[in-house]
Each structure stands twice: as C-alpha cells, then as structure tokens.
C-alpha cells in the first residue's frame, strides 16, 4: 500500500485548508486510509449521479444547449466551529449594515449628508432605483438572501471579497454536494459533529412569510424564474421544491388592480410574496426595460401599493456594487458603531485620482475589476497578465476610471483537490448563504468554489471552477 493520500501533496507555501486546520485532523486521517484509486472511483460514481439527477447548469455552444454538472471535488473543505462562529457573526453584522444602508438611501439619506459615502456613488449608480424612495419594507429588510464571497489569505485571515445582495446563486450545490457526500463517504462523516444543512428551504420560506404584506393571512409564496433555459434553472427548481412553492415564469403572472395573480387550472389565484431570480431590469417592463419578456407588467405598481413582497427587494444592487464595497467598513462603523468583524480586501477606488495613480503605477501586481460585472468577467489579474493584457487594462482604466477598482493580489488559500489522479493544491473561496426575514440566519458552511486549473485564482463556474462540500465540524 503506497501509504497516505497526502504524502506527495505540497501546498506550495499557500495557506492550506486541510493541513493547517486542527479541525480537519480526523477527516484527514480517514482520507489517508483510502487509496487514490478508491477515491477516484467514488468521485466518478458521484459525478455520474450528479449528471443523472440533472444537477446541472446550462451552457450554450453553437445552437445547442448542453447540460453540464458543476465539477465536484470529493475532498471536503473543513471549518472549525470557532472559524465558523467568526464568519457567521461577521456576515450577520455585514448584512445588518447593508439593510440599514439600503433603508437609509431610499429614505433619509443621512449617510450621504454626513459625508460617509459620496452621494454620487449611490445616487449616480445605475443600480440605484429612485422608484424605491419612500417605500417602507417589513422589518426594513431589503436583502433577504445574501451570498458573501470570502477568501483567505496566506496568513489564514478571512477577508470579504464581495457582497452578493441581488440574486446570489449556488445554494443548491451546497445541499446537493452534501447529499452526494453522505452517500459516497459515510465512513468519513462518522462522529465528527458535522453541522447539518438540511433546513435551508424551511428557513427561507419562514423568512419570506415574515416579510409578507400585512393582511396576507397565510401568504402565497412563489419563485419567479426566467425559465428552463436559464443557466441556474436547476437551482430554481431546487429552491421551489425545498420550499414547496410553485415555480412560475413571468407569463404565469398578471397584475390586476395593483394585485398579483397567477394563472391556474381554476382561474386566477392571489400571490403575496415573490422570490424572484430575475434582475431588477427585467422585472417589470412598465417600470424598467420596456422590452423585457421575462417580467410581469405592473409588478412595481403592486409592490408600491404594499400588496406584494419581493425578495430580494428592488434596488439592492447598489449595496453590492464593487465601489460601494470599498466603503463597507465605514458603513458598518456608521450604522452599528462597531468595528467590522470580517475585514475587506484592501481596495483602491479608481474614481479617486490618487487610487487611480496607484493602480496604474502598480498594475502588474494588482487585480483590476470592473465595478458592474458579475461572474468573474472583465477581471485583469496583474501577475498573470501578458504585456498586451496590461496595456489593454491601462487603456480601459484611463478611458473610464470610475468603472474600476483594484485590489492587491491575495494569495488565496488552497485545499487538496483530486486532479487527474493526483491530490494537488487548488485555490478556493467560500460563499456562505444568509437568509434574513425579521433576523438573519446563516447556513453553516456554504459553497466552497475551487479553481480547478493549476495556479488559477478564478473560481466562477462560468470560468472553469468547481465546488467542494464545506463541513463545519465541532
């Protein structure tokens, strides 16, 4: 027997989620007892099962649609309960501040008058929705579902990279990955005090009931999806099933007398709460993009009239903007009078001349991100970029500096990952999911995304990323 799975594993100087974590010892020892062939065999059958279950996202090439599974790595990422407690309290603090910020900017705007955040950054932001001014939301909760992207640097410090406060996705993979691990590795899980994640759907529907319009009685909740051709359709199905609510498309809904109805076999039926997986822009052609076919004409009328709850609320995109992100530590201090529990990655806001100069001077060592993009698009990673790519980036920065921020290149932590029959270090991040109704609850663990290409720092599924199950253990 050629001893341990990890004998030839070398984290190459990065912080290793497995080797440097005391909490992972038991699991590490149990994994070491497996041969690489046994591990590969279990991984292969897990992947077949994911495909058969249709736990896929959809990619488009030529005229064909192809269902792909999110590549799944069977070696779990492990967090101790102390690490988790730190992350959890940091996320709750952050979401509390974000909801206070949103309520403020759509009402009194005191944070702008007090000069903490530049008004033009908020009011000039294309995700700021003037239509939301003066609307009072139950519990002042704007962000019901949040997915906070967290990375770990070479010292093992957790840093927030991004607040996804619009329609974050990925929670279905968290739960399905866990189901897969429970089936494929019952021997690893025994007696380690693994925190369960089964109750996400129940937590979500309770939170949605909490924000239902007053007088809705037993509120009717639906999940609004762009439809079966959306890349995240599987997740929409998953969430609708877990909550036990209808999965609807825009064409199933209509608005009459400022009330929302869905078309059923028995005629029209009232809808009180919509968990929408459609961006603001496409939600209501009367209020936003007039040519949107995905949305429902009149939805915003019903919303403004207080006859409908939307989760997340309209206009939350301003809070997860990459430029606003830079102010988040100050926003937390302003509203909560607390120090941030989770730190930001150091961020240079290129709209500020000094930050732009610094960015241009240090381009080769910085990561430059456009502020409006999601999914890892448009990012230039300085240390990995060619001369041509750096020149292009410089030109874009000079042409439109306020569209960019820059950050130092974080040496992301790694986790042992099964690649081509070997266990190798790969960079990971973490996206915990938080659900907020009258208060905030965080699903233990979250989605660990892993950059499967050697040396790559980009973990997005659209860019060749995979995922791991995340275990919070006692």
């Amino acid at each position: 027997m050629d001893s341990s799975l990890f004998d030839r594993y070398d984290p190459l100087g990065f912080y290793c989620e497995m080797l440097q974590s005391a909490a992972s010892r038991t699991v590490r020892e149990r994994l070491s007892g497996l041969s690489i062939d046994a591990l590969m065999q279990r991984a292969a059958s897990a992947n077949v099962e994911l495909f058969n279950l249709g736990i896929t996202f959809t990619v488009y090439s030529d005229a064909k649609t192809i269902d792909r599974i999110l590549p799944f790595d069977v070696i779990p990422r492990i967090l101790s309960s102390e690490e988790w407690q730190h992350i959890e309290s940091g996320i709750i603090q952050r979401i509390t501040a974000i909801n206070l910020l949103l309520d403020d900017i759509y009402h009194n705007q005191s944070i702008l008058r007090d000069g903490v955040v530049p008004p033009e950054l908020i009011l000039g932001n294309h995700n700021y929705r003037p239509l939301m001014r003066g609307i009072d939301l139950p519990h002042k909760t704007y962000v019901n579902i949040c997915g906070t992207d967290i990375v770990r640097d070479e010292r093992g410090t957790f840093l927030v990279l991004e607040d996804n406060a619009r329609t974050p996705s990925g929670v279905s993979y968290v739960v399905e990955n866990r189901h897969m691990m429970l089936r494929a590795f019952p021997d690893l899980l025994d007696q380690i005090g693994l925190r369960p994640i089964e109750n996400y759907g129940a937590r979500l529907i309770s939170a949605l009931h909490e924000v239902a319009p007053a007088g809705a009685g037993d509120p009717r909740v639906v999940l609004l999806s762009p439809g079966t051709y959306n890349a995240a359709y599987f997740e929409h199905v998953f969430l609708a099933r877990e909550m036990g609510v209808p999965l609807v498309e825009g064409r199933d809904l209509l608005v009459e007398n400022d009330r929302v109805f869905m078309r059923t076999t028995g005629g029209l039926s009232r809808v009180d709460v919509i968990y929408r997986r459609i961006d603001d822009d496409y939600l209501d052609p009367e209020a936003f993009h007039p040519d949107s076919l995905l949305g429902v004409p009149g939805l915003m009328r019903a919303y403004r009239a207080g006859n409908l709850a939307l989760a997340n609320a309209v206009g939350t995109g301003v809070a997860d903007d990459k430029a606003v992100y830079a102010y988040m530590p100050r926003i937390i201090r302003y509203y909560l009078m607390q120090e941030p529990i989770l730190q930001n990655v150091e961020t240079h806001i290129c709209r500020e001349p000094e930050a732009l100069r610094y960015t241009l001077d240090n381009l080769a060592s910085l990561v430059v991100k456009p502020v409006g993009e999601a999914g890892g698009y448009g990012i230039t990673v300085g240390p990995k970029a060619s001369r041509q790519e750096l020149d292009d980036c410089r030109a874009k920065l000079l042409a439109d500096p306020s569209n960019y921020i820059s950050q130092p290149c974080i040496k992301l932590s790694v986790a042992p990952t099964l690649v081509d029959g070997r266990v190798e270090p790969r960079h990971v991040d973490l996206r915990p999911f938080a659900v907020t109704g009258s208060s905030t609850w965080v699903l233990p663990g979250g989605l660990t995304r892993v950059a499967l290409r050697r040396g790559s720092l980009v973990v997005n599924s659209s860019q060749g990323g995979g995922s791991k199950d995340t275990w919070v253990v006692a």
Binding site: L53, R220, R241, V248, R251, D252, R263, T265, G266
Partner: protein, 329 residues
C-alpha cells in the same frame, strides 16, 4: 391555502404523459413489424408504418426508399424527425424539466437517463440482431416511467391531467393502428382467412398487447370483425378506445369535483357522447359503412376534447390552439 395548479404545468404534465405513451406505442408497432409481420414471401412492409403516422411524404423527401433500416433509423434515432421515439422522449424530458418542482425526483431521473441513452444510440446499435432487445428496452423504459409515476406522483390535480393525457393518447394510438392495419390487411378478398392473414391480425393484436386477452375471449377464431371490435370496444382491455374514453371521462369529472374546477364542461359532454356511442356500437355496421371514416371521426373528437381542455385548464386562448397543435406534434 387552496390547492392550485399552474395552468402551464397542467399543460406540460398532460403532454409529458402523451409523449411517453406515444413513444411506447411506436416501439410496439416497430417491434411487431420487425418480428411478426412478414408476408407470404417473407418480406416486410415498412411503408405502412410511415402511413400510420402520415409521415410518408416527409420520409421520402430525405430517403430513397422505405427499407427496414431506413424506417427504423427514422423512427428511433432521427432527432430531426419530430415523430421519432428520441424526439418524443426529448419532448417528454423537456416537459419533465419544466415540471421538476411538481414531479418526483425518481420520475425526472428516469426520464433524464432514458433520454440520454436514446440520444446516444448510433446506427450500429440498430442492426437487425439488436432490434428486438432494443424495442423491448424502450417499451420497458416507458413502462418503468408509468410505474414510477404511479408509485411516486402525488395525487393532486397534476396526477389527473397526467392520466387524462395518457388515456387520450392511447385511444388515439389505437385508432391509428387499427386504421392503417385494417386497410393494409385486406388487400384482396381472396386473402381473407388465409394463414398469412391470420398471422397479420395476430401481429396487430400483439402490437397492442392484446393477443392473449383476445385468445382468452375468442379462442381460435380470429376474424377482422372480432379483432376490430376487441381493439375498439372491449371494456376490459386497457388499450381499447372505449376503455380509454371512459377513463378520461371519469378522471375529468373527478378532478372537477375534487378540486372545484369550473371549466371543462364542453369536454365532459363530448366525452359522454363518445362513450355512449362506443357503448352502443354495432361493429359490423361500422365495418359496412367504412371503418376509416369512423376512426377518423373519433380522432377528430379526441382533438376537439384536447382543444377544450387546453382552453378550459391550460391557459390557451382559442386562437392559440393552432400554435399548440404545431408545438406538440
């Protein structure tokens, strides 16, 4: 909270059931044709299958002649052909994908795996020696679907629309089978009663899974009239038109009363009339006045019932029905 079903879901579940039933019937017909319907010279008539589905013109536009291989390819693996088995299961799977919040995970997984298997079939796997087992496995996969559905699908409104779709499709398929075969099997008066003729009628019964039941009922006496009467009117035979129509009527009235649905009265009346007609039919009179015309009128009534269900429950406006018929081809 009132029990509700999205109109669009009702439409999808109705067609999901129809497509799987359609695929099963097609597999039956191809299987029987391959195995049992050799004529006196040992040749097989593959053209009749093209006539059955009104596909002859479309087929001949892309194929030189109707050989066993070309017809089987056309109906099993040709994804460009909307009446192929792989297309039917693709449509079924697409509906199932839309319906995933409603149907059981087992139903979805089985259809997903079934479709992926069919989509991966190559011509090599359709060689003469493989066909019988291939058709058997397709039939079995369709029946597995039906069984999983029976055993796992929650009995709310969706179940009723599923069952209604399944029985309407089955009734329609039986009329089509009978229509083509009847005319094909009576080429000349002198053939009637000859041994070949009997084997052809037996093949027809086999393709509808009615051979043994027919034997139990009629012993050795196989006549065109008895076979036609059996397939059309027998109350106990699960694929007879009469049985299917009666089931649709029962399911419709049950779903309307249990779930307080007000629509669908036109369809219910149409079904009543059809059931009374089938219950009082004299088969020899039908054969005298023209079986084809009779079967044609039943098919038209089934289409009318589908249209009425679509406007009453599936959210179609009467004008949109044209488009639906095109989509669901």
């Amino acid at each position: 909270m009132p029990d509700v079903l999205l109109a669009r879901y009702a439409d999808c579940i109705f067609w999901l059931a129809r497509y799987v039933e359609r695929a099963e019937n097609l597999a039956r017909i191809l299987d029987v044709n391959e195995t049992f319907s050799r004529d006196s010279r040992g040749g097989q008539n593959w053209r009749s299958i093209l006539q059955l589905n009104s596909d002859e013109e479309r087929f001949l536009a892309t194929h030189r002649s109707a050989t066993a291989q070309s017809v089987v390819n056309f109906y099993v693996i040709d994804s460009e052909n909307p009446t192929s088995i792989v297309s039917a299961i693709r449509f079924a799977r697409e509906n199932a994908r839309t319906l995933r919040p409603l149907i059981s995970t087992e139903m979805w997984v089985q259809l997903n795996v079934f479709y992926n298997r069919l989509a991966g079939l190559g011509e090599g796997e359709l060689s003469p020696g493989n066909l019988a087992s291939l058709f058997a496995s397709i039939k079995e996969a369709c029946q597995t679907h039906t069984g999983i559905t029976e055993g796992t699908f929650f009995r709310d409104q969706g179940w009723y629309f599923y069952e209604i779709g399944r029985y309407i499709e089955r009734a329609d398929q039986t009329t089509r089978l009978l229509d083509i075969k009847y005319h094909l099997l009576l080429p000349s008066p002198s053939d009637v009663g000859s041994p070949v003729d009997v084997s052809q009628w037996n093949a027809l019964l086999r393709s509808a899974a009615g051979y043994h039941a027919f034997r139990r009922l009629h012993g050795g006496s196989t006549t065109p009239q008895r076979v036609t009467g059996f397939l059309l009117l027998n109350r106990a035979f699960p694929r007879s038109v009469h049985h299917c129509v009666r089931e649709v009527g029962r399911l419709l009235s049950e779903v309307k009363s249990r779930h307080s649905l007000r629509g669908g009265n036109d369809a219910a009346e149409e079904l009543d009339r059809l059931e009374v007609l089938l219950g009082t039919l004299d088969i020899s009179a039908v054969l005298r006045s023209g079986l084809h015309e009779f079967l044609d009128s039943i098919q038209r009534q089934l289409i009318a019932i589908t249209r009425e269900l679509s406007t009453a429950f599936f959210g179609y406006t009467p004008e949109a029905h044209q488009a639906q018929t095109a989509n669901s081809q």
